[in-house]
C-alpha cells in the first residue's frame, strides 16, 4: 500500500522515464483538469449566491457599527482629535443612502438621478456646518473597513477632520450590480448650532449617547466560510504547482537534458507573483 502511494507520488511530482521526464502534474491533461476544477468551483460559488446554497456557503461577516465607531475614534485619538458621538439621525441618513444605492444600483457618492450625499442629511432633518461621507463594500470585518479608509488619503482626511463631532453608520446587505454586497456608509458631520427647527412640537433631544442608539450591524457565520476556504485552496493549488516545477527544474538542471517544454523557472516566478497577489489583495472597495 505504502509502496504504491510512494510510486504514485513519484509519478505525479518527479520527472522520470515513466512520465516522459516531466512530472505528471505538469502534463497538459493534468493542467487542464486543474483548470476545469477551478472553473467548476467558480460556477458553484457564482450559483450559490442566488440559490439556497447561499445559506451554507459564503463569507462569514462581522461588521459591527460599535466596532466601526470604536476603530474610528481610536484613529482620531491617535492623531490627538476628540471622539465622535454616534448620532441617530446620521445613522438613519446613512441607512437611507445605502437603501438608495441598492434601489438605484450605483456605487458612487452621487446617484444616477443626481441625488447628492447631502440630500440624505437634510432629509433626516440634520443641519450641518461640515459634512462628509465614506463608503465601503465587500469587506468581511469592521477593522478592515476602517483600515482601508485610513490607507486612502481622502478618506483618512475625512475621518481625521477636526471640525467633525458626530458620526452615523449603516451596514446594509443587498444586491448591488448583480452581486450580493454588504455596504458600509459612514457619515461624519458638525451640527449647525444656529439652526432652529421650525416645528409646532418641542424640539427633540438628540440622542448622542452611545447607549441611546445602536445602528444595525451585520454578523453572519456560514457553515463553510468561502473566503477562508477559497484563499487556502487557491494557495494550495499554486503551491503544489510551484513545488512540482521546482523539483522539475532541479532534476533537469542536474541531468542537463534537452526537453521541449516551457521554462520552469519562469513559471515559478509567474505563479509566485500570483500568490503575492492572493496575499495582498484586499477584496473590499472604498470610495
Amino acid at each position: 500500500m505504502m509502496r504504491s502511494i510512494m510510486k504514485y507520488l513519484k509519478h505525479v511530482f518527479l520527472p522520470h522515464q515513466g512520465n516522459n521526464y516531466r512530472a505528471k502534474v505538469l502534463h497538459h491533461d493534468s493542467l487542464t483538469y486543474i483548470m476545469g476544477l477551478l472553473l467548476i468551483t467558480v460556477l458553484i460559488f457564482r450559483t450559490s449566491a442566488t440559490t439556497s446554497f447561499h445559506k451554507v456557503l459564503g463569507a462569514s461577516l462581522n461588521i459591527q457599527t460599535q466596532a466601526l465607531l470604536l476603530d474610528t475614534n481610536k484613529e482620531r485619538a491617535q492623531n490627538g482629535l476628540g471622539a465622535l458621538t454616534l448620532n441617530k439621525q446620521l445613522s438613519e441618513a446613512a441607512a437611507d443612502k445605502a437603501h438608495d444605492m441598492f434601489a438605484h444600483d450605483y456605487w458612487n457618492h452621487y446617484s444616477p438621478t443626481g441625488t447628492s450625499p447631502w440630500y440624505f442629511f437634510t432629509k433626516h432633518d440634520y443641519h450641518y456646518l461640515y459634512a462628509g461621507e465614506n463608503l465601503a463594500k465587500d469587506f468581511s470585518d469592521s477593522s478592515k473597513v476602517v483600515h482601508a479608509w485610513m490607507q486612502s488619503p481622502k478618506h483618512r482626511e475625512n475621518i481625521l477632520r477636526s471640525e467633525y463631532t458626530e458620526i452615523g453608520f449603516a451596514v446594509e446587505e443587498g444586491i448591488l450590480q448583480g452581486k450580493p454586497t454588504v455596504l458600509v456608509v459612514q457619515l461624519l458631520a458638525t451640527p449647525d448650532p444656529s439652526y432652529v427647527p421650525i416645528k409646532d412640537t418641542a424640539p427633540q433631544q438628540k440622542s448622542n449617547a452611545l447607549n441611546a442608539y445602536s445602528a444595525p450591524s451585520v454578523q453572519k457565520t456560514k457553515l463553510i466560510n468561502t473566503a477562508v476556504w477559497g484563499r487556502n485552496a487557491m494557495l494550495f493549488v499554486l503551491a503544489v504547482l510551484i513545488s512540482a516545477l521546482a523539483i522539475d527544474m532541479y532534476i533537469f538542471e542536474k541531468q542537463k537534458m534537452y526537453r521541449s517544454t516551457g521554462k520552469s523557472v519562469f513559471h515559478i516566478i509567474f505563479l509566485f507573483v500570483v500568490i503575492v497577489g492572493i496575499f495582498v489583495i484586499n477584496t473590499g472597495a472604498i470610495i
Binding site: 497538459h28 493542467l31 477551478l38 460559488f45 487557491m234 504547482l241 517544454t261
Partner: protein
C-alpha cells in the same frame, strides 16, 4: 534566450509586485490579469525568437496563465 528578455520579465515582475503593494484594489486586480497576459505573450515571443515554439509550449503557457486567472476568480468570488 537573450539577456534583455530575462531583464524585461524581471522588470515587469518587480513593477507588478510594487503595484500589488501600493495600488488601489481594482488596479491590483486588473494588473494581475494584465501580468498573466503579458507572461503568455512574453514567453511566446521568446520561444518564437529562439525557434523553440510549438503547440505543446503554447498550450503549457496558456494553461498556466488560465489556472492563475481562474484561481484569482475563485478568490474574488469567495471573498464575499
Amino acid at each position: 534566450m537573450k539577456q534583455i528578455d530575462f531583464i524585461l520579465l524581471m522588470l515587469i515582475t518587480i513593477v507588478e509586485i510594487i503595484v500589488l503593494f501600493v495600488a488601489p484594489t481594482q488596479t491590483k486586480k486588473v494588473s494581475l490579469y494584465l501580468y498573466a497576459a503579458y507572461y503568455v505573450v512574453w514567453s511566446l515571443t521568446v520561444h518564437a525568437r529562439t525557434k523553440t515554439l510549438s503547440v505543446k509550449i503554447v498550450l503549457e503557457y496558456f494553461l498556466l496563465a488560465a489556472i492563475a486567472v481562474a484561481a484569482l476568480q475563485v478568490l474574488f468570488i469567495t471573498s464575499l
